[in-house]
Amino acid sequence: MIPEIGHFALIVALFVSVVQAVVPLVGAIRGDRAWMDMARPAALAQFALIATAFGALMSCYVSSDFSVLNVVQNSHTDKPLIYKMSGVWANHEGSMLLWVLILSVYGMAVSVFGGNLPPGLRARALSVQAMIGFGFLLFILLTSNPFTRVDPAPVNGDGLNPLLQDPGLAFHPPFLYLGYVGFSMAFSFAIAALLEGRVDAAWARWVRPWTLVAWCALTLGIAMGSWWAYYTLGWGGWWYWDPVENASLMPWLAGTALLHSSIVVEKRDTLKAWTILLAIVTFSLSLLGTFLVRSGVLTSVHSFAADPARGVFVLALLVVVTGGSLMLFAIRGPALKGGGLFTPLSREGSLLLNNVLMSTASGTVLLGTLYPLFADALDLGKVSVGAPFFNAVFIPLMVPMVVTMAVAPLLSWKRGDLMGALGRLKFAAVAVIAVMVGTWFLGGGSSGPVWAALGLGLAAWLAVGTLFDWAERVRLFRVPFAQSLDKILRLPRSAYGMTVAHLGVAVVIAGITGSSAWTIEKIQVMRPGDTVTVAGYDLTLVGTEDNIPGPNYTTLRAHFSVVRDGRPVTDLYPEKRMFRQPPRPTTDAAIHTNLLGDLYAVIGDADGTGGFVTRLYFNPLVPWIFLGAVVMVIGGLVSLTDRRYRVGAPLRNARAPAKGRA
């Protein structure tokens, strides 16, 4: 009964999406307010229906209803409750349902909080949202129904891939989707603006919070996935340039560019066509990711069961959404008149440079990801692309960007004074030299001190430059402290958001540099009682215990005691787990962190004579990568609380001066 309710709710949601797509749009064209306002209740109904369907599937998973094929294929009664729940989106059908659920959440948010939007813009944006929703609902109902029954129902399910039974990965997809789907808001607003033929500062102000929410969620989602790879794949790596990782990185890069170019639209009323194009491209890259993962066009271990029928459908969807919107852009784009002019050496100019570099990086990742496909088609063959390609092209694009990031905030709008800005950054330059020399001496002896010094110097440049920019804004040490304090309190939250997010980037760069330059790895066979020294830590294998029962696995657990300079530091308990259903091993690394580096221990196979293969690492600065990502997200959230972007604020702002004048 419950699965049928879910299925039925999805069918009704499909019809509601047709109404939401058509009626408000016609209303907007005719200028009929009542028709336009249909969009709001329709969006609410859409959310209620899809939430019902999602709840129904969730209930099937929680109660282990094995008459539902999807539950049989992805669940098992032994699974802990949290992984029964995360099993809902750990498969193709369920994840598509999560996709439309999040889409409907955003639609609802516009409908509830969008009271301040001009009715025409709101109606058109919600209509575009509904068109996207229609496409995906049709996709689910025709090719990927999660509610298909199976008769006779098997006694138990096939279980979930043990690698996915992990807290980091349980919540990785929802955040990733919040990001991907969140960019649909910027997209819908961009299409609505093209239809209306008007893009102005107010438009940018409405779009920015949605882009920020999506960007924060995507940043967090990518960081979670990377963190998961770091501690479960078990060899200290955190990014592999896998097609599916690239699929999430491309919209992130484009979205970051969008975030910055919309500032220019808001503040300077220029770069409009470019911003609209970025909004379209960002969401299209999210869709492209969906297509690549599900069509079987590229091979990747992440990919869901590839099915050409689904591939054809998603490609058709991509053609309609992206092709249609790019055609609309081609026709309507020239009508978007640019506003203020600026010289290349200005804040607009530097933001544009950021955009160019970000887009190029995104395009490079796209090219690298699709290269096997192109090479195959054009009969070029014999060329392979992997981590070496991406590292070789990505880093040179990022270096000038980070260098500019410290300078850009110090440049003024319209026409900046580069020499003045650089002059003010002399402290940052001193810091860079100090860090580079320090790195050179402390890191001496290991293989990569030259570029490690450059990397840390870059991070220092950005961090000090960013802090210096903040100090300049509040006139720290230039005016009496009480005045500065007043400025500190009055500085807009969006300025703080930028400061924090840019500091986060500096922390990430330091983390990436440290982990690539100084990782120490020791692989050996150890017997109980053996001691191995890694980066000054003495790790003694105290013993191992086998066949410890877990909820749906048995585990081999090793006990290491860690001593440094004769004093005990901690105990590490790495595990090697053998899952029952499906029978697959996973490694569970034990990590001790002191924030400057991770001591990372993995237990491997027994050698048959009482010894075990052990892998012990010291990964310097790796926690900074994830910490930095969290700092970036905090920066985004702080910026989101800026009263200019707070939903509802623009209207009050717009009204207040009007009243004042009257």
């Binding site: 060899w235 091979t299 591939g311 496909l373 981590a387 892998r615």
Partner: protein, 186 residues
């Protein structure tokens, strides 16, 4: 200011992309999965190569040592995620009854740092009979490697008989590789 045709550029780029995707999907529906890219090398003698050993006291990989027994040449790399999914399957396959006696598994660590490759084997187990390192990818070019993992099944006369692009799945091993091994070992 913007000239009219420039706004059509994104659309044109997208159209080209779609053409590629569509073409690929057509091939897939015809039964040609991307990991079944036909190789011009099929039924041709395997290219000659002589690679230095990855692990010091073990043999490297050389084409001279290929005859007499069916050989699977497996290109892998420590930076490659699909390889990681494939690796336990290879370990498992080599542990099956009768496989070890009939199949020689040669690993080629492709465009990788040797210490990373050795770490990979220490971590995940070492099912290989011989291991070579192809740091600059030269041997990969001779074989026509698109990316890692890729594997080539070579018969007792040294001819390539089967090419796997992308990781082996349990089904690939069960339904393609092992039957072909049985046939070639007759």
């Amino acid at each position: 200011m913007m000239r009219r045709w420039t706004t059509f550029v994104p659309f044109a780029v997208f159209a080209v992309l779609v053409a590629f995707f569509g073409w690929r999907l057509v091939l897939i529906t015809r039964g040609d999965a991307p990991n079944l890219i036909p190789s011009v090398m099929i039924d041709k003698p395997a290219p000659g190569f002589d690679l230095p050993p990855l692990v010091l006291d073990r043999p490297g990989a050389a084409s001279d040592a290929l005859s007499g027994k069916v050989t699977l040449i497996n290109f892998f790399s420590s930076w490659c995620i699909p390889c990681r999914a494939e690796h336990p399957l290879l370990v498992d396959m080599m542990n099956r009854d009768g496989v070890k006696g009939r199949l020689r598994l040669v690993g080629i660590d492709y465009k990788d740092k040797p210490e990373d490759g050795r770490g990979w084997l220490a971590r995940l187990g070492d099912p290989y009979d011989a291991l070579g390192m192809d740091r600059d990818g030269r041997v990969g070019i001779d074989f026509g490697v698109y990316g890692v993992p890729e594997s080539y099944l070579i018969d007792r006369q040294g001819r390539i008989r089967y090419k796997q692009v992308g990781p082996f799945t349990p089904e690939d091993i069960q339904e393609k590789l092992l039957p072909l091994l049985a046939e070639l070992s007759k």
